[in-house]
Subunit: 328 residues, 2 copies
DNA sequence: GAGTCTGCATAGGCATAGCCTATGACAAGT
DNA sequence: ACTTGTCATAGGCTATGCCTATGCAGACTC
């Protein structure tokens, strides 16, 4: 480090001091306008000159006269200070009221649960946020994240955590879903059959599932393989409502989370049968791309998603373990 | 003063800290790159966020992710820091080597004494200063100053000191100048006649003077009025060389300072006769316009003018009182 | 799932930057 | 010569800014 390494760098404070000096033409007057003592300003200007290694003002007994360097500093410094002010203003605005577009991608089973309440809550509480909700399979959602088509995604499978930032949302259990008439058991007020079944009981039931493209189906197949059998898949439909309709018409059974059919369970159109020893569980993660800047509005939406999930789980007694709440 | 008036303003230091954070993606890495402790940087970033009232980065366990506000700050901040650096660079350059144009205006009697040595000295010692010397009457020099045609002027009469900044240069005495043959007295080695004359002795001598437009002539007339007579002006010429030539041809006398004719005095072509009781004195001032910024080169030239005057006065034993030297 | 690693936050201590009051020097105007 | 306005210097006090040490939480490993 050099011996004469006086001050580290130019300070905006001193710059504004100097602008005041340039405006008032005398150190005393400027100090007065700045509500500070004259010697302090005097010292600051001197320090500035030492730092820049230039004489900025010629001291006289009737005030000071700016040098060429001084006028340059005053002119350019004013621009700089203005652009700093503008920047600060812009930042405060960004931070103050959340606004602007936010796009979220849900897989179908979460979309059923969240989309409408989320849209409604955001619209009523943050009318300046323009929220767009899209529904797709986990894989597509990750693609959308990668291509910056959405800000926030929900997925079930964890992927590369060096590109994405994950936050666990909730862990769901997959139930055998059936039309109540189509099952030889009583259903409690929570819509769940009294007697759970075991994995092996699944193996001969006619099931309607999604295609292999869906993460849910992959999970289900993994489960079956681990248990040493394969499902009796009578139909493959990549549409949750259609699956639900088939189930409620007693045309087949399926494997779904409580959240995916919570309305039908609540209305008694569909019953849940717990699969025990082992159960099929999956965890939903909230995902965002690491490289993508996070808008304030987007943060609000994330928080709202958590809130909505808690509300829905509580209101409908949905079987799921919530992830620990992030405070904010 | 408000309660939550936390920090006074944004600091460039903190801005550069944040840029490093944006670049490195983690507080630890950035602190390392900045050669500072991690907690210090952590604290600084937090302070910045408090000051701006915006979250700039979302802390994770694997570094930080910038928010929208953070990226904005990083982008615009970089521009600002660059423009500050450019400004500092420009200022250092302005201060380092004096260069560029400087215009000086002298009245004839000082121009005779100073112009050539000044031009030569500046050219040899500061080759990057482009010095222009102009010669005119005091009144015109003040006009030139007012119109920014010259940076520095020399005048004899003081004028409005709220517009101009004055610095006394030297006080000269006006002598009766004559061809040595045309005067009944011995002249010493300094070119001055042994016997002084009194003011009243002037009154019948045929004089060649400048017109009333010149400050010198006004001074002379004031002197005569104060002494209760008027000059016998046989010719009016607004050209110092022509006056000198007439005097040296013994066609007339004149009233000039030693400096105006120092060469002719040194060569013995002209002699000086001191006017005593009272003497005629005038002070030359160095003048610059208060509102006009002073270039470094201009400061150098001012200093050089003082140096040259001292040199000339000493070398030629010119009769004049020097103003106190300004150190520099 | 326990242990380790990595990264951020908090706490307390020390040096110094920054501002103040008091005072001195100097030029300009009375 | 005296007063007034200006800038500079000196000494003291407070708050800032950085440091080390330590705590805490998520993420990777076996």
């Amino acid at each position: 480090m050099s011996i004469n390494d006086d001050g580290e760098s130019l300070k905006l404070k001193q710059l504004s001091y100097f602008l005041s000096l340039a405006e008032h033409g005398s150190i005393s007057a400027a100090a007065n306008a700045l509500n500070m003592a004259q010697p302090s300003l005097s010292e600051n200007i001197a320090k500035l000159e030492r730092k820049l290694d230039v004489q900025l003002a010629i001291r006289g007994s009737r005030g000071v006269q700016l040098t060429q360097a001084g006028t340059l500093l005053a002119d350019r410094g004013q621009e700089i200070l203005k652009s700093v002010d503008d920047l600060v203003e812009a930042l405060r605005l960004l931070g103050s009221d959340p606004r602007g577009p936010v796009s979220v991608g849900f897989p179908p089973s979460l979309s059923i649960l969240l989309s409408v309440p989320l849209l409604e809550s955001i619209h009523s509480e943050y009318s300046d946020i323009r929220l767009h909700v899209a529904e797709a399979m986990s894989g597509d959602i990750l693609d959308w994240l990668a291509n910056d088509r959405i800000d926030i995604g929900c997925v079930y499978e964890i992927s590369d955590s060096s590109v994405y930032i994950l936050e666990p949302l909730l862990t769901e259990e997959l139930f055998l879903v059936t039309a109540p008439d189509n099952w030889d058991d009583e259903f409690g007020p929570d819509g769940i059959a009294k007697k759970p079944i075991t994995a092996s009981d699944l193996q001969h039931l006619p099931l309607v599932l999604t295609s292999q493209a869906h993460g849910a189906r992959k999970l289900q197949e993994r489960f079956a393989r681990a248990e040493g059998f394969s499902f009796n898949v009578t139909a493959t439909i990549d549409s949750l409502p259609h699956i639900v309709e088939m189930v409620s018409r007693a045309s087949a059974y399926s494997l779904l989370s409580h959240g995916a059919v919570f309305k039908q369970v609540a209305s008694g159109d569909i019953g849940l049968v717990r699969i025990a020893e082992p159960s099929i569980r999956r965890t939903a993660y909230l995902v965002r791309k690491r490289a993508r800047p996070v808008s304030h509005a987007s943060t609000i939406v994330e928080g709202m998603i958590g809130t909505i999930i808690r509300e829905m789980v509580e209101r409908y007694n949905i079987e799921a373990q919530l992830a620990p709440r992030k405070d904010g």
